[in-house]
Subunit: 273 residues, 3 copies
């Protein structure tokens, strides 16, 4: 069933508007193409609404937010809401600075998000309205493991109920949940943490999956998260002794390019709580 979500991306080739950081923007564009979507990046207030209106989905990522682009994020988000297009929020580093936390909260306040994807520290910050994050990675105190899985799932469900968004918390175990149903996903590879922006890439890809499956946002987000994890695994299997994090980065996008629905269904490992 998750495989069908992927195949819809390849069939519909959704155009996704990205307002994202300049660190990983190239990877976001390339993974959108690799998964079957089409990217456009644009962040000037004079054009973002028009660009959003051309697209089937919007991806907002606050990784290098600044005073010029924050109003563009709000305007594009509202436009997408008005048009009924799914919007994804990646609250990179929420909790690491007031600007990030407050911008993320303002976005949550003024824009309805179809999906919010972040690490557990970022999502906890959004839920609490404040927080502390060690840079752009999750605090070790916050790790999701088998022992606390049920309580974390309940927390995610509650946050989903409050925001109306499907919430994707990614980490060693990924949780993708609406207010009632949580996918606990076991795909992935720790070495993905050695490549910058695998989270940003996943958010961009999630926007394509949501855009191609607007009636099935939960399954679409779960499929995107599984797909990224599966590709992290197959890319890892391909590594030679001399390969390192840069070849791994390429192999992940290569794997996304080569993944099909059947392979996704075969390799997806998750349980539903």
């Amino acid at each position: 069933m998750l495989g069908e979500m992927l195949e819809n991306v390849r069939k519909l080739r959704p155009l996704v508007h990205n307002i994202t950081n300049y660190v990983t923007v190239n990877d976001c564009a390339n993974i959108l193409l690799a998964c079957g979507g089409s990217p456009i990046m644009s962040d000037d207030i004079a054009e973002v609404e028009e660009i959003t209106a051309l697209c089937s989905g919007l991806n907002i990522n606050i990784g290098t937010l600044n005073s010029r682009t924050i109003p563009s994020m709000l305007a594009a988000g509202k436009k997408a809401n008005g048009l009924g297009l799914p919007v994804v929020l990646d609250p990179v580093g929420a909790g690491a600075s007031k600007l990030r936390t407050e911008t993320a909260l303002k976005l949550l306040d003024e824009v309805w998000f179809a999906v919010i994807r972040g690490n557990i520290s970022e999502i906890k910050t959004l839920a609490a309205g404040s927080g502390t994050t060690k840079g752009v990675d999750a605090d070790s105190a916050d790790v999701v493991a088998e022992e606390n899985l049920e309580s974390v799932c309940q927390f995610v469900k509650d946050f989903s109920a409050r925001t109306g968004a499907v919430v994707a918390v990614t980490g060693a175990i990924d949780i993708v949940s609406d207010s009632k149903t949580a996918y606990c996903i076991y795909n992935g590879q720790p070495m993905m943490g050695s490549v910058t922006g695998t989270g940003c890439q996943l958010s961009a890809m999630t926007a394509a999956y949501a855009a191609a499956n607007p009636e099935s946002i939960l399954e679409a987000a779960a499929a995107a998260v599984c797909a990224m994890g599966v590709c992290g695994e197959t890319a890892y299997e391909r590594l030679t002794a001399l390969d390192g994090s840069s070849s791994y980065r390429n192999y992940i996008i290569d794997a996304v390019y080569n993944l099909n629905g059947k392979a996704l269904d075969n390799r997806a490992r998750y349980k539903i709580i």
Copy 2:
């Protein structure tokens, strides 16, 4: 003869000033180095004229244009004109928003371009003064094929006559034309569309070819377009079963790095109309 254009780039190592988008800027820098040129990126109004004056060519790409960088594009373009340096325009997404269309038209109005390179939808937008473009890719309604090749060539020649620029329309068949002579180029590989920014990279490389061959802009632009197409082909031949769009991206730049004039002449496939 096209091969000579390439060899002049390797001989002269032209420094090219790029005011370009943040999505594909790294690829533009790397392809400039790979082809034998040297890149510098700079977009602050306080320095762009000085930077242009150090260079042998200028590449203006509106892919992520914004209120801060548009005046810099105009200032650098005028400076280059004053110094007699070739300027390339890549009107990314012209037709997709008023800001893009109007900025491209304003640039055409105030700056003389040696080369304008875009897809057919972007070029039609510039020629008509308005248009609609599906994001940053050409509309399927606009495709250049054998059936409409002569009429498209005439359109491109007319647009070249009006602007005084060599016009490069890239797609399944590429057309590079001044007001009298059109190169119809058959090199290239459809998979290049799966890598973000191959068009941006080509524009940057075209600036280097023009800078190294200022007396032969038409041949220089045709050579750059052929070279990119040939490298798309040789990179494709190198792909293994596990490779995808990310390895392909690397192999294209590798191929540019390894290409010489003789190989370009051997593999170039074009006719002149």
Copy 3:
């Protein structure tokens, strides 16, 4: 001993704040992860001080400086000084424009840098208070070679004494020096000049080495420079006939990912003057 510097990075995983250019920012993030550190990029004046305060080091690179980010560089630099965190300056293109030269000098005036890393033309510009640089590469007139090594070392020592910074001048022979001791480093590979941003990457990595070895800044900077050179060599050895500058770029970061202290000590080639 240099190997110990590297191992401390892997042990302590220092978080490094980068205010850097948008051309090579992704490579900077990836090399920081590859060497064992952790990157965060942030340049808005509203948050840079908070972000710096989360980190163990700061890397300031003026490669695409602009009116919005220059105040952020100054604010973050002062914050880091107040907290006693090492700050690295990469004066990209100092000498190529008044804006670059003046910004670099202002930074030197208001911020204390633990390490300044640039090519010989950039460092000469900073030392003289003015200069001319051919874009972002060193002038050929300035090349460091065996014949002028002693006089260049004395120049670097003097500049170090004036600024209180360890100064790293990279080129065919690299010089890393404080006011008394100069490491002359022979590692490296000319083909590194075909990849954009190997200098930027080295500066980012140097910030991680300095952050993990705050009591041994000279040795830390020398270790980072050696490590980059060694990785340029091992990556070169790995190239196949079809590989070019893009595969080389990946192999360098792969090599950084795979390098350990013992291998660094084995392959480091330097003399102390």
